[in-house]
């Protein structure tokens, strides 16, 4: 190497080091390090417990015994097959339902958009345990009230429907998760540039040709991102397999994981070995998702060449479309919600329209509102959820930007990192966080902060999926042209990225907030004196001393403040969106 080359090299190294020392890059690096650390703790715990002997009271020497136990019988094949069918069925049905709502609300002039949006949010404000319980009360062959009505209406001997089946499980979970598909697809459909479709139509294509050839390919990142999220949610879902799958003898990975963690002493080694499969599926799924969307620019519909979202005019089909969507909500949300509200006025099982053994009263609400730690738990849960949602959105925004813009070639690794916690059972995350922060000299034990650390870890995957699919639709030429025109990073962020991404960021915030308010499995390890949360009260009601009525009343009470908060945020989102649409129109006119 010549002296000149060496000098050049030293200079470029210095320039590189200097570039990294810029406040913006340092901030980015700090965000990635924090997220990396948050994921590392439970991941390391999962791998360590999976590959060491389970002594019952902590990991022993290195061993493959947990894998031998988990994978050495044919039972695992049945477990895998059931899990795959359940997760794939849920992902597909949920995607179809969510996409229908998203298309009608975001792309057409059908009435009722704000109502459907509110109903979608209401749907996942109901805790998963209660949704599964409500579907049992609706569709159980023995006590389901819809079955009883159908039997009496048609003079049937046997119940025509049964929730205790694979179809029942898929339906129970899809009816709960389809608002998520709507929330992730909605922003993508909203910003889809209709002129690409119009150009195809003008060139002689029919709408049925435009949909598969133009619309769906443009939405590929959002659709695949949603499918990936839904599939993993199906694989790792726990309430429906617990309440519906187990009595039906349809066992999935989470049934066995939960049985292992619920034994006394818990078999964390076995649970971790089983979770290892979920983790591998998760990494492979993210890898293929990134491969199929690697040409990110091809899917960007918000470019520098003018962008004007417009709606399809349905004409005389406006009302039928709105009524069809309403009916979908009436069945998927109305039936379980009606059942829960009805049940909340009775102590023991009460079937709507079929009478009840007791009399209706507010006794269950009194019980919940007088429950010793209820109001403190509401305060803690809402505060924690708001902080967790804000941090998750901030961290995943930075990570998604780096993965898609700064290092797109190896971005899948960052994407996988942020997505991994979805494959780790919440109880293992809770236990790992407790262990790590008891060993480290960071004084968060028994405080609200240890819960916050766990919540941010749990919900990174959701933020990442929402934001990376939103960012994929914004062409980077917008940022590049701003940079060429002399805009600084802060200006690019504040005046280009933030306004365009705000609907997605708000949707992600709302979703994480709602999930965090009702989190229970990790919280049980981390609550201390004075830091009780709503999820742990729900679990207490279910496990120890609560009637059906009390459990239902707690669910109904939880829903009300959530709906108020979410409605407030929706109002904010609409205001912001109108402002950014007005700004876009003004810029185009200029």
């Amino acid at each position: 190497m010549s002296l000149a080359q060496a000098r050049l090299g030293t200079r470029s190294d210095r320039a590189l080091a200097h570039a990294w020392l810029r406040p913006r890059n340092l901030a980015l690096a700090v965000c990635v390090l924090i997220a990396g650390w948050l994921v590392f703790v439970p991941l390391a715990a999962l791998l360590y417990t999976a590959f060491t002997e389970d002594t019952g009271f902590g990991p022993g020497p290195w061993s493959l015994q947990n894998f031998v136990e988990a994978y050495s019988s044919w039972h695992i094949v049945r477990l895998f097959a059931n899990s795959a069918i359940f997760a794939a069925g849920t992902a597909l049905l949920t995607l179809i339902m969510g996409a229908l709502v998203a298309w009608v609300v975001e792309r057409t002039d059908a009435p009722g958009g704000p109502l459907f949006h509110a109903l979608a949010l209401l749907s996942f404000a109901i805790p998963g345990l209660l949704t599964a319980m409500a579907w049992i009360f609706v569709l159980s062959p023995n006590i389901g009230w819809v079955n009883a009505l159908l039997k009496s209406a048609f003079g049937l001997q046997e119940a025509p429907l049964s929730i205790y089946s694979m179809g029942g499980m898929i339906w129970a979970l899809s009816s709960h998760y389809f608002p998520l598909a709507y929330l992730t697809l909605g922003p993508a459909l909203r910003v889809l540039d209709v002129r690409m479709e119009e150009a195809a139509l003008v060139s002689g294509a029919r709408y049925w040709q435009v949909m598969p050839k133009i619309t769906l390919p443009l939405l590929r990142p959002a659709i695949l991102s949603t499918l990936l999220l839904l599939f993993m949610l199906g694989m790792s879902s726990y309430e429906v397999p617990r309440l519906i799958g187990r009595p039906a003898r349809i066992e999935v990975f989470t049934t066995d994981i939960q049985a292992a963690t619920n034994s006394a002493p818990p078999e964390f080694g076995l649970a971790s070995a089983l979770s290892f499969t979920l983790l591998c599926i998760c990494i492979v799924a993210v890898f293929f998702y990134r491969r199929s969307t690697r040409n990110a620019e091809a899917f960007a519909t918000i470019t520098g060449k003018g962008y004007m979202p417009t709606r399809i005019k349905l004409g005389r089909w406006r009302w039928p479309a709105a009524i069809a969507i309403f009916l979908m909500f009436a069945i998927s949300l109305g039936l379980p919600l009606l059942t829960l509200v009805w049940q909340s006025f009775y102590r023991n099982l009460a079937q709507p329209f079929l009478g009840s053994s007791g009399t209706a009263s507010f006794e269950n609400y009194q019980f919940i509102l007088h429950y010793p730690i209820f109001l403190n738990a509401v305060k803690t849960s809402v505060l924690l959820a708001a902080m967790a949602a804000t941090l998750v959105v901030l961290l995943t925004f930075v990570m998604a930007w780096i993965a898609l813009r700064a290092v797109p070639r190896s971005g899948w690794a960052l994407d996988s990192l942020a997505f991994m916690p979805i494959a780790i059972p919440h109880v293992i995350i809770g236990a790992a966080v407790l262990f790590a922060y008891l060993m480290l000299p960071i004084p968060v034990y028994n405080t609200i902060w240890i819960l916050l650390i766990a919540y941010v870890t749990l919900y990174l995957p959701y933020g990442m999926r929402f934001i990376s699919s939103g960012l994929a639709q914004i062409h980077k030429e917008l940022e590049e042209s701003a940079e060429v025109s002399g805009a600084r990073a802060r200006q690019i962020f504040m005046r280009i990225l933030l306004p365009l991404l705000l609907p997605v960021l708000l949707a992600a915030w709302i979703y994480v907030f709602v999930l965090a308010v009702r989190e229970l499995s990790a919280s049980v390890f981390l609550v201390g004196p004075g830091t009780h949360v709503l999820g742990t009260i729900s679990l207490t009601m279910w496990e120890e001393g609560g009637s059906y009525g009390a459990v239902s009343a707690l669910g109904v009470i939880q829903i009300i403040p959530l709906v108020a908060i979410v409605a407030g945020l929706r109002w904010l989102e609409l205001r912001v969106r109108r402002r950014s649409e007005a700004a876009a129109a003004k810029a185009q006119a200029g």
Partner: protein, 349 residues
């Protein structure tokens, strides 16, 4: 009417974002004037420590008013953390390994499965008044309430006259196929069955029951009691009697019936070997075994371990004691062995 108004106004407070309101509902029970469990020497030392942290699997509706009695009698502030047995077990183990001085006493049903070094050896004076089976010979735990195991049935679905007289008879009731439930972790019950019938016969009895009735495996004993009371299942092959009673006291058509054998274990109390407030812990353990505490818990259907406390509903223990009662207390290793056996018999892979 006033109750209705109160409820509506409280409901409104929550709906209108009651988050910032400091409405701490006072639900304390008045403590009696005399407390025989209150050892004056321990009290002085405990008062100097000033606080007590309780880990318990009992819900807050029972646990907080119970420890309010303790607070009022001693002036010691109590911090109460509730979680399930399995979560508390993991949590305490993690804290023990990290050398964390976290809790003072623990109350749950699986204390006998904890490693002995985690628990202090201490025999509270009130332990002399509980039944001998409820006392750990190693003096590390003591039974606060009794967990008897017996079948239950829905009185609207099954007539009392049709009930089987033995577990063998269950396997002759084909009409109940798919209508009978059992919790997926009832390994203590299985062990008692093996002790009673002997290995070979017990295996055959269980296999016959599984083949004929195809029992539904449920998750959680209270969930099973509620579902049997609701008519989702006609019978529970086994359940905790106090939980069946809890659902019955709530007005559901459910009833316990006893068969040979009746498995028995306990809701226990123990003092942490690393208790941050060791004297307050000893005083609280003594309180948990007192007549005052057990009378309070009996109101919620928990069956006392003391002979001088009447159970609720009355006569339950006498009815169960007519059968062969087998106390089953597992070590962690035994628990694993019997849980595997249970799974193999009820969920053949």
């Amino acid at each position: 009417m006033s109750d209705f108004v109160t409820t509506v106004s409280r409901f409104g407070a929550v709906a209108g974002f009651a988050l910032a309101l400091g409405l701490a509902p006072a639900h304390g029970q008045g403590a009696p004037a005399s407390h025989p469990w209150l050892d004056p020497t321990l009290l002085a030392a405990a008062k100097a420590e000033g606080a007590l942290t309780v880990y318990s699997s009992t819900n807050e509706q029972e646990g907080l008013p119970l420890f309010k009695i303790f607070e009022e009698a001693t002036g010691i502030k109590v911090e109460y953390v509730r979680a399930s047995d399995s979560v508390l077990t993991s949590r305490m183990t993690i804290e023990f390994r990290a050398n964390q001085k976290s809790f003072d006493i623990v109350q749950m049903t699986t204390i006998n499965k904890l490693p002995p070094p985690m628990l202090a050896q201490y025999e509270p004076p009130e332990a002399n008044n509980i039944i001998p089976e409820a006392r750990d010979p190693g003096k590390r735990w003591f039974g606060v309430y009794a967990n008897y195991n017996a079948p239950a049935y829905n009185t609207q679905k099954v007539k009392a006259s049709d009930l089987p007289k033995s577990y063998e008879e269950f396997s002759r009731r084909k009409e109940w196929a798919g209508q009978v439930a059992i919790d997926g972790t009832d390994n203590e019950w299985l062990k008692a069955l093996f002790d009673h019938y002997g290995e070979q016969k017990a295996t055959q009895v269980v296999k016959d029951i599984v083949a004929t009735l195809k029992p539904v495996l449920t998750d959680g004993h209270l969930a099973m009691a509620r579902a049997t009371g609701a008519g989702e299942y006609a019978l529970s092959l086994n359940n905790y009697v106090n939980l069946t009673n809890n659902v019955k006291l709530g007005g559901a058509p459910i009833e316990v019936f006893a068969l040979d054998p009746v498995a028995l274990f306990f809701g226990q109390v123990a003092v942490n070997s690393k208790a941050p407030h060791p004297n307050a812990a000893k005083l609280a353990a003594n309180f948990m075994l007192s007549q005052e505490c057990q009378q309070f818990l009996a109101k919620f259907g928990r069956l006392p371990t003391r002979g001088d406390v009447e159970e609720n509903p009355p006569g339950t223990v006498a009815m169960l004691r007519q059968k062969k009662v087998i106390t089953t207390l597992f070590t962690p290793e035994e628990e694993r062995v019997w849980q595997r056996r249970f799974t193999e018999l009820f969920r053949p892979r």
